[in-house]
């Protein structure tokens, strides 16, 4: 309980401190220290997994721990990248930038560790508020428009999620037996929940957290926001924030499944996942801007997560594994693309040819990222997507499996076409030839580390992780394939 509390509170306190500290160097050091401590503390949670006492408001169960670890590793890499980034970029209010990053870490940790669903909601809302000023870092019309769309849509989403939380509390019987909105009590006493309120609650949770995840048709903020936000912020949103939103939806799914509402929940999740895949495929083809492409790719992967959750069985296992893979690969891609965008001065593909000569390491990372994000072997996403598709076949949804494979193929072609355009060809005049080939280590080390982890997860999943994913999937009504 103490470690969990520190994981949430320390980054928040450090965020406040960062706002007071004078001097960019001290702030960067603080950011890096807290990120490292956070990852260390999450490591401790893995070691002390056995003596976890359930019952508190904050506890790391397997599903929460998987999300928290993904967030923590991604944040550490992004923090290291941010130190280099802040050396020559001055996003509006450098002080607020570091403060908001740390507040974001605290809020995402709160979501991952909450066993109390209203507390989870508070964390989810705080992620929105912490990330909004980061999107507006460029201080021009376009980023203003992006941050407004993001604020309005995700505030509506978060209000619907709050309604879902309240409806769930109403579904609980009034007599003393169970404590309000605590996950273990909800799941333990699931048979006594009122099905009408529970169904209403799940529908609002799907709409609310679905908006935060960026599931189609509630994804419209995503391309604008990811297109305008600084790349490292985009990476955090696509990797960490969406994972937390998925966790929120997964918590409600856990309760609904425990109450025996599988036949109500599963079709909704599958339909929503397939529709997101369809929308992603439709908009990836012919996309002209690489950051917006990544946004639609994120819509695709959110669709896959929900699809796996809805399929159950091996699909749920694939979904949990996919959450880790997607979080890390999105971070890596956004950072690599960020380097190229900084070099080319634009994210419009037509103006950024020949990046292999201008920024060779980042360009290669982009090529590796292409294969990783589209689920090609030997990367981790191949295993997780394969589990989801096998799950669909085994759980008697052959058409779902076929449709998924078709969409994934279309998406592969779309992404490959764009990345080849960016990497090869003659560099445009705008890119300065003088700095060709010279890439600062701090800009490439992070993405290289993330790419290595995603590659490793495709070749070998360590036994403790494998066991944790299995138990997390079991809590979602799935099993290890």
């Amino acid at each position: 309980m103490l470690i969990e509390l520190l994981i949430v509170v320390v980054p928040l306190a450090a965020g406040a401190l960062a706002y007071v500290v004078q001097g960019a160097r001290a702030r960067s050091a603080l950011l890096l220290t807290i990120a490292t401590l956070h990852t260390g503390a999450v490591g401790l949670l893995w070691v002390h997994q056995a003596d976890r006492a359930p019952g508190g408001w904050l506890m790391a169960d397997e599903l929460g721990l998987v999300v928290l670890s993904t967030v923590s590793v991604l944040f550490l890499v992004v923090a290291y990248y941010a130190v280099g980034y802040l050396r020559d970029q001055t996003p509006r209010g450098g002080r607020a930038f570091v403060s908001c990053l740390l507040a974001f870490l605290s809020a995402t940790s709160l979501v991952a560790l909450s066993q109390h669903l209203a507390l989870l909601w508070v964390g989810m809302e705080s992620t929105t508020l912490a990330i909004a000023p980061l999107i507006y870092a460029r201080h021009d019309r376009r980023s203003l428009e992006a941050v407004w769309k993001y604020l309005v849509l995700s505030s509506v989403g978060i209000a619907l999620a709050l309604l879902a939380v309240f409806l769930l509390a109403t579904a609980q019987p009034v007599d003393g037996g169970s404590r309000a909105l605590l996950l273990p009590d909800l799941i333990g006493g699931a048979s006594r929940l009122d099905p009408w309120w529970l169904r209403a609650s799940f529908v609002f949770a799907l709409a609310g957290f679905g908006t935060k995840m960026g599931l189609a048709p509630l994804h419209t903020w995503k391309p604008d926001t990811y297109g305008e936000a600084p790349s490292l912020v985009g990476g955090l949103m696509a990797g960490a924030l969406t994972s937390c939103a998925f966790l929120g939806l997964a918590r409600f799914t856990q309760v609904a499944m425990a109450a025996g509402l599988q036949d109500f929940v599963r079709p909704l999740l599958i339909a929503s996942g397939l529709f997101s895949l369809l929308v992603a495929a439709a908009f990836i083809i012919g996309q002209a801007d690489v950051k917006r492409l990544l946004a639609y790719s994120s819509v695709e992967h959110m669709g896959l997560l929900v699809l796996g959750l809805g399929i159950g069985g091996a699909g749920a296992y694939g979904s949990v594994l996919h959450l880790i893979n997607n979080g890390l690969v999105k971070g890596m891609l956004f950072l690599a693309v960020g380097n190229l965008v900084l070099a080319a001065g634009t994210s419009v593909v037509a103006d950024m040819h020949g990046m292999l000569r201008v920024r060779p390491v980042s360009a290669w990372l982009l090529v590796i990222g292409l294969f990783a994000v589209t689920g090609s072997p030997p990367f981790g996403l191949f295993i997780s997507e394969f589990s989801i598709i096998t799950g669909a076949v085994r759980e008697h949804h052959p058409w779902v499996a076929a449709a998924t494979v078709l969409m994934l193929t279309i998406i592969f072609v779309g992404i490959a076409g764009m990345i080849i355009d960016i990497v090869y060809g003659e560099p445009a005049g705008a890119a300065d030839e003088s700095s060709s080939g010279a890439e600062r280590p701090s800009f490439v080390v992070g993405p290289v580390i993330l790419a290595s982890i995603v590659l490793l997860l495709g070749l070998y999943i360590p036994a403790p992780l494998r066991a944790a994913i299995g138990r997390a999937a079991a809590s979602l009504g799935g099993m290890r394939p």
């Binding site: 021009d140 992006a146 505030s155 509506v156 109403t170």
Partner: protein
């Protein structure tokens, strides 16, 4: 007595929903939403039989945040950013009134399918109407400030529903919810302020640079 005053307050909430929907002046809209916030503050005093410190603190907190601080902040934003006073609806007032009426019908239709134990109370339909009218305002109004008012109304609707749970959901959570709404509207207000300076107009219709080409 308590029951009838509860029904009266809920009726007032619905009336303020429609008042905001049909008002053309921005300052009047803000006054109405402040009024609604004050009614929300009275609600826990009526729904809970006894006046515990918890209930009184909740009532005072609600009034301070929803009736005083947030509306005051919006008024400040209008004055500082020199926003024009009209609401500028994208849908004519008559149309949005019809949408509001449809929302009212839909809310009562949904409420009639509720489990028997909850039927008869106006809380759920009123909460739903307020959420839906808030959404109508968010979608059909051009100005960013009035969209913030719509968001506040949507939150109020959720909050009314939450009041039925005041005894069961711990105090810390309620404080968290109030704080989050407050900070949310605050950040929105700042963005509104910047939008006005960048675009020389607070209309969200101008926000069209980002599109699929």
């Amino acid at each position: 007595m308590t029951h009838s005053s509860l029904q009266l307050l809920l009726l007032l909430v619905v009336l303020t929903d429609f008042a905001v929907l049909g008002t053309s002046r921005l300052s009047a809209c803000i006054r109405w939403i402040a009024f609604q916030g004050a009614i929300l503050g009275l609600l826990p005093l009526v729904t809970e039989g006894e006046l515990t410190t918890h209930v009184v603190a909740l009532a005072i907190g609600t009034v301070i945040v929803k009736a005083i601080l947030l509306p005051g902040f919006l008024r400040w934003a209008i004055r500082e950013a020199a926003i024009r006073r009209e609401v500028e609806p994208l849908v004519p007032y008559m149309g949005s009134m019809l949408l509001g009426a449809a929302a009212l019908g839909a809310a009562f239709a949904v409420a009639s399918t509720m489990p028997v134990s909850a039927r008869g109370s106006l809380v759920v339909p009123v909460a739903l109407v307020t959420v839906m009218i808030g959404m109508v305002i968010l979608i059909t109004r051009a100005k960013a400030v009035i969209q913030v008012v719509g968001y506040m109304m949507l939150e109020n609707g959720v909050y009314i529903f939450g009041l039925t749970l005041a005894r069961r959901v711990p105090f810390l959570v309620e404080a968290g919810v109030l704080l989050d709404v407050f900070v949310g509207v605050f950040i929105m207000g700042i963005v509104v302020f910047h939008i006005n300076r960048e675009f020389d107009s607070i209309s969200a219709v101008n926000l069209t640079e980002l599109r699929e080409s």
